[in-house]
Symmetry: C2
């Protein structure tokens, strides 16, 4: 007999089928005992006799039975007259925590025991959200003529001048892990005009916060022949809309299970200038923030609430961050040169994307590096793109785990990260 997945049971009512999976839970009622079987596609209730009660949670089993409609069963179906005893693999372990409505353990315990904790349906649903999000990002950009690239993670130069990089022993000489594909994706605009990459980036974050990781998945895009950063924001809007569409289309079961309300992505995401945002924040919060160079997390949350209330939007672009806090490749705003032609996207009050227009003239790069005391020599392979012709261009980067955290309302990005890495965590 050919094993079928649990999701296909409705097609086989009245037939005998073979299922395979893990013992998810057992329930003994006064007159009947149930075993709940779990596979990649769902849960199935099996009416069993006493023999099967011996089976421990997470044991892998293979069982034949008759598919019977039952109003009381989850999903309206259950398996009767199972092959007895179940055919099963020998297992040594005698407890599991996967069967409750949600995991009761504290986050560090869940992360320490990821190999089993991830089997919980709610944990699995978050993985399905992440996969659908990344697929939606790619689909949206594929549709706009972007080409996917994979750029190296072992690099000779710290992208942003040396902070927060992991040193690598590279055949006895110094190398670093790439903090972003920034320099490479810009080079590739000179080759393919529109490129994206979905891959790991590495930040040696010295502090442990609920929103920083030492390694995360960055969804990066870069596009040539733009007018200014507003053109880039248009592409960024399409990428985010694609991500939400991807979740809606490909992860509907996960959305249901987690009872999520998916955001609408407005055709025009509201935009506020950094300077105006600061004035607004002084009104909203009473805090003195005008003149500061960045937004504090609490102030991002306040702006997120304002955008929801004022514009009915879960998303808000903040544009024109001060040049002083932006990296060397950032383009100035033409009208107000102390401010940059860059932006962040707040998603439900959390910075989930950074982007902007980049410099595109060789001379501007030489000047920008000099102004920061950086030698141009380590950047030679990058600067070569600009010594030849480069069009006005820009791009953006979205942290996958942060985005999914916002989707599910997780307060800690580790809750939506597969095997997170931070200062104190390197395993499993």
């Amino acid at each position: 007999m050919q094993r079928i997945h649990i999701s296909r049971l409705p097609e086989h009512v009245g037939e005998r089928v073979e299922l395979a999976g893990w013992i998810h839970a057992r329930r003994a009622l006064s007159r009947v005992t149930f075993v709940v079987l779990r596979d990649a596609t769902g849960l199935a209730q099996i009416v069993v006799d006493e023999a099967a009660v011996e089976l421990q949670p997470e044991t892998v089993v293979d069982v034949e039975g008759d598919v019977v409609a039952s109003e009381q069963a989850p999903g309206g179906l259950e398996l009767h007259a199972p092959s007895s005893p179940f055919s099963r693999l020998p297992q040594g372990r005698r407890r599991s925590s996967c069967a409750g409505r949600s995991l009761k353990e504290q986050l560090p315990t869940i992360l320490d025991h990821a190999a089993v904790a991830l089997r919980h349906p709610r944990e699995r649903a978050k993985l399905e959200l992440a996969a659908a999000t990344i697929d939606g990002f790619r689909s949206a950009l594929d549709g706009l003529g972007f080409t996917e690239i994979q750029t190296p993670k072992l690099v000779a130069t710290a992208t942003e001048g040396g902070a927060n990089v992991f040193p690598v022993d590279y055949f006895g000489r110094a190398a670093y892990l790439a903090q972003s594909p920034q320099l490479y994706k810009q080079i590739m605009v000179g080759v393919l005009e529109r490129v994206y990459e979905t891959g790991p980036v590495f930040r040696a974050e010295p502090h442990e916060t609920a929103r920083h990781l030492a390694e995360y998945v960055s969804l990066d895009a870069e596009v040539g022949f733009v007018e200014d950063h507003r053109t880039v924001m248009g592409f960024a809007r399409e990428a985010v809309a694609g991500m939400v569409d991807g979740v809606r289309m490909r992860a509907a079961a996960a959305v249901d299970l987690l009872e999520l309300e998916l955001p609408e992505v407005p055709d025009q995401i509201p935009v506020v200038h950094f300077a105006d945002a600061q004035e607004l924040l002084e009104e909203l919060t009473g805090d003195a923030v005008v003149g500061e160079l960045d937004l504090a997390p609490a102030h991002e949350r306040a702006l997120g609430e304002w955008a929801a209330h004022e514009h009915g939007s879960d998303f808000l672009f903040v544009e024109g961050y001060p040049m002083a806090k932006r990296p060397f490749y950032t383009h100035r705003d033409r009208a107000t040169p102390a401010f940059s032609a860059s932006f962040d996207l707040l998603f439900r009050g959390l910075e989930s994307m950074t982007g902007g227009q980049r410099l595109h003239l060789y001379g501007d790069y030489v000047a920008a590096l000099a102004a920061r005391g950086l030698s141009p020599e380590p950047f030679a392979g990058y600067l070569e793109a600009f010594r030849f012709g480069m069009p006005p261009h820009g791009g953006f980067a979205i942290g996958l785990e942060r985005f999914v955290a916002r989707l599910v309302g997780a307060s800690n990005v580790r809750e939506t990260t597969l095997f997170p890495r931070d200062r104190s965590r390197l395993a499993p």
Copy 2:
């Protein structure tokens, strides 16, 4: 006026349009001068007056002109009466090597100057092949119920016991770059049954060969509830067929430009057992190979030629490699325990994929680690998956760059790698 891409010119014959891109080449004939413009979608010939002759190759320009049918022009269309002088960005550089039929420089020079060399249409075509290949891999596995995952590249344990790993200074303690997602994708079989990952892997290869890199893109899959490694080979066949279909459907222009003959993937890829392959090689080559533990590159080529001649196939599975050369998680062949339930896939005579069935019982792992003198302690997070229930499972890994190298007939994998990394190369 809204810029259009060159690929859209046929829709605008008789109209005035705006193009933007790079000066690809200039050609002065006796009566007329042409400029060839390049954008992400192709090349366009522009009939110019003397003023435009000043434009240097790779200058970024923006030009309006009338679309005119012309039998002599490449593609049958050219641009007349261009806006003059072209609107252009200031550029400092005065030479380029991108306009010839192929790049004439030696590989190291091409790699050193990747920012410009990649702009050559043939180089660009290889990037389009790579993107289509990876997309085809994902589509094939999505269609078979696999879920995409992203696993950490910073790890505490060398996957295969310590050889060829890059050490990382991880907040003052030792970490390594992952040589593969092997342990993580196995853990995830316990969660999602069928998973894949497309991401970088890192190997500190001490030798510089034409087929090894220090960093490459690995297309990894792992699947649960298999009978044996033959089930895994069935999935591997589907993945490879998807990759070739992806190229056929999404990179047709690149295939034409590079004049490639795409391989057919047989419904049943021919299979030869390792021991039989050795006997065959003794017949074919006269070399004494029976008893060796692996196949030499020359012998893989000989087997590739044999498969093409005997089976009309560009692909050949070699199964049952000796256990002695396979990693600790490898499952033995049930019938002949000195041989493994594993396989390689030769594509046109080059090993392009490795796979097999894995151990799935906790006790077997404890024994396998002990037999290799490895402590189980660093593997605790991995072994936990097996202490709970794990089904029979297996998987495979395909090197993206090697696969594309075989597609285009490149003799060195660096020719199909974006910014390759090896012992002597860390930039650009």
